[in-house]
């Protein structure tokens, strides 16, 4: 890298950082109460100093403000989110994708264990799994047992299910649950449905076949 390109890179990085900081400041200014704004700023500093993205924290703070939560409640909610984000960061390493970490934190909040996050990561190490984590969270929040939901999502990932297919699965399970089906039964039925549309899983015979 030449001096000129290094300088350009640094300038560009500074511009991005400045734009990000400015966007954050603009959102902070939405918090009218001085004490709450100071508490949120401190929590943001704590999170970003640990390498976590600021956006989910800012959003959680604004949610608390909209819901008229006290400064103490907002601070506690942000601290709890930081704990989950750090756990998600460790489980989903080396990813630092904002959506993925936030989705991982959501999954942990509904009771999905860190081990399941690691399994999902191992199944798709080179790409974002935020949709998969989101669908897993949705299924558990709708009442599907964690183990069954994790297994279903892992199976579908292994078979190459797309994000559209996964989100459609979540929507269909919701419809079935609303119609009176038990969540686990609904997932079993809908999961089979999606699996039937996917190509067969790789086996020894069709993975290493060489044309003769």
């Amino acid at each position: 890298m030449t001096m000129r390109s290094t300088a350009a890179y640094v300038a560009a990085a500074m511009l991005v950082l400045a734009a990000s900081a400015s966007a954050q400041d603009a959102r902070l200014s939405l918090i009218r109460d001085d004490a709450t704004r100071d508490a949120v700023r401190a929590q943001l500093r704590s999170a970003t100093s640990r390498g976590l993205p600021a956006d989910p924290f800012m959003s959680k703070a604004l949610e608390g403000v909209a819901k008229k939560a006290s400064t103490k409640s907002i601070r506690a909610a942000m601290a709890a989110l930081e704990k989950r984000m750090r756990a998600a960061h460790a489980a989903l390493a080396p990813s630092s994708d904002v959506d993925e970490l936030a989705a991982g934190a959501d999954a942990l909040s509904v009771g999905v264990p860190e081990k399941a996050l690691k399994q999902l990561r191992a199944t798709a190490p080179g790409r974002s799994i935020s949709v998969e984590l989101g669908v897993l969270t949705e299924l558990v929040a709708r009442g599907v047992p964690v183990k069954q939901a994790t297994k279903a999502v892992l199976d579908l990932m292994a078979r190459g299910a797309t994000g559209v297919q996964l989100t459609a699965l979540g929507r269909d399970v919701q419809g079935d649950v609303a119609a009176g089906l038990k969540p686990d039964v609904a997932l079993d039925l809908r999961g089979r449905n999606v699996l039937s549309l996917l190509p067969p899983p790789p086996t020894v015979s069709n993975v290493n076949v060489r044309p003769r």
Binding site: R32, G64, K67, S70, G134, T137
Partner: protein
């Protein structure tokens, strides 16, 4: 038929309309007050009150009981019932009625009791509204009966966090002991005293802080020449969703309708509230549906809500930086649409400024603020 009879009849009829499924809360007040009546020593009073509120989309009702423990109290026991009804055909109109029973333990204005009732229809338009009202009360003090009637008219207007009110009322009463204790004497023999009251008030609410300020002017008419003024203030701060401290002070003018004397007071009350966590399923008649329609580069979120008795429905979420956005009223209910980028989105709706809830068909997530939001995943 007097307002008291009408108020009781309405209370009895509407009470049944509030079903067991309606959200309700219970509030316990415990506090201390310093009360000084005209030309009397200042007295201390311990206060214990219980209030039970139950709300439907069309009917809100309140039942309150309070005990004041002092050797020389304003009221030793008080029971109050009030109800507000909103007809579905005219959402801008509310009929409010209430009835109250005071049992005095006072020595300086006599022992006895008071029974009163009121009717107050009100209409709202945009950020403002107006009301007219009539109230009527009978008092028995040391075996002597008296009577008071008030007709009133008023209006309010909300500007941001502040709501201003102004009202005018005319009072007619023959409660001579109460009036004389308040320094109001007749200039010539008369059967009744007539007085005009004008009151302006300001109400401020932001976050967990609320404050009220009201100033009243009383001018006598005909045989009761009097000119009085009273300023009453109150403020409350909610430490948590359940615990709040309320302070109030100032002077209240004699109220012959409810039998309460002219007095200056300073009061501090610790308020505990128990309120069940609400979800949309707890609100009868409300149904919402969130449709996420895939589009190029994301999805369109369409919210369709049926809430026949609501006058305002808001949505908020990550997409709006949690800034409440009003839904648009349609012939079938309420609608909202916005474009969502791929990723995870959190959405909540509220009815008439109430608690934020997850739209009906979305996965419900706890929000760490004793509420919930709906989760949307856009592939």
């Amino acid at each position: 038929m007097s307002p008291r009879v009408i108020a009781w009849a309405l209370l009895a009829a509407a009470w049944r309309a509030v079903g067991a499924q309606s959200p309700q809360d219970v509030q316990l007040d415990a506090g201390y007050a310093r009360v000084q009546q005209r030309a009397r020593d200042e007295r201390g009073a311990g206060i214990l009150g219980v209030t039970w509120r139950v709300s439907d989309l069309r009917v809100s009702s309140l039942l309150s009981a309070a005990l004041t423990n002092t050797g020389d109290s304003l009221a030793a026991g008080q029971i109050l019932g009030a109800i507000a009804m909103r007809p579905t055909s005219a959402r801008w109109a509310v009929l409010e009625a209430g009835a109250g029973l005071n049992i005095f333990g006072i020595t300086n204005s006599g022992r006895g009791g008071n029974f009163s009732g009121y009717l107050r229809p009100r209409v709202s338009f945009g950020d403002g509204g107006a009301w007219v009202g009539v109230s009527d009360g009978s008092t028995v003090r040391d075996g002597n009966p008296s009577h008071g009637t008030t007709v009133e008219a008023g209006g309010w207007y909300r500007l941001g966090d502040v709501t201003a009110t102004a009202s005018f009322s005319r009072l007619r009463t023959d409660d001579w002991p109460l009036l004389e204790a308040a320094g109001i004497y007749l200039s010539r023999p008369a059967l009744m005293a007539d007085m005009d009251d004008a009151t302006v008030g300001l109400h401020y609410a932001r976050g967990r802080f609320t404050a009220d300020l009201a100033n009243s002017w009383r001018e006598g008419r005909r045989a009761s020449p009097v000119s009085q003024e009273a300023l009453l203030w109150s403020a409350s701060w909610a430490f948590t969703d359940r615990v709040a401290l309320a302070l109030s002070g100032g002077r209240m003018l004699a109220d012959p309708v409810r039998g309460t004397p002219d007095a200056s007071l300073t009061m501090a009350v610790l308020r505990f509230t128990w309120r069940p966590k609400e979800s949309e399923a707890d609100v009868p008649g409300v149904a919402s549906y969130a449709r996420v329609a895939p589009q190029a580069g994301g999805a369109m979120l369409l919210l369709a809500i049926v809430a026949p008795s609501s006058v305002a429905v808001d949505v908020a979420g990550d997409f709006s930086n949690w800034e409440p956005t009003p839904l648009v009223r349609t012939p079938n209910g309420w609608e909202f649409q916005t474009f969502l980028k791929p990723g995870r989105h959190r959405v909540a709706v509220r009815y008439d400024g109430g608690p934020w809830r997850a739209p009906g068909n979305l996965a419900r997530m706890k929000d760490e603020f004793d509420g919930e939001y709906g989760l949307i995943i856009v592939p």
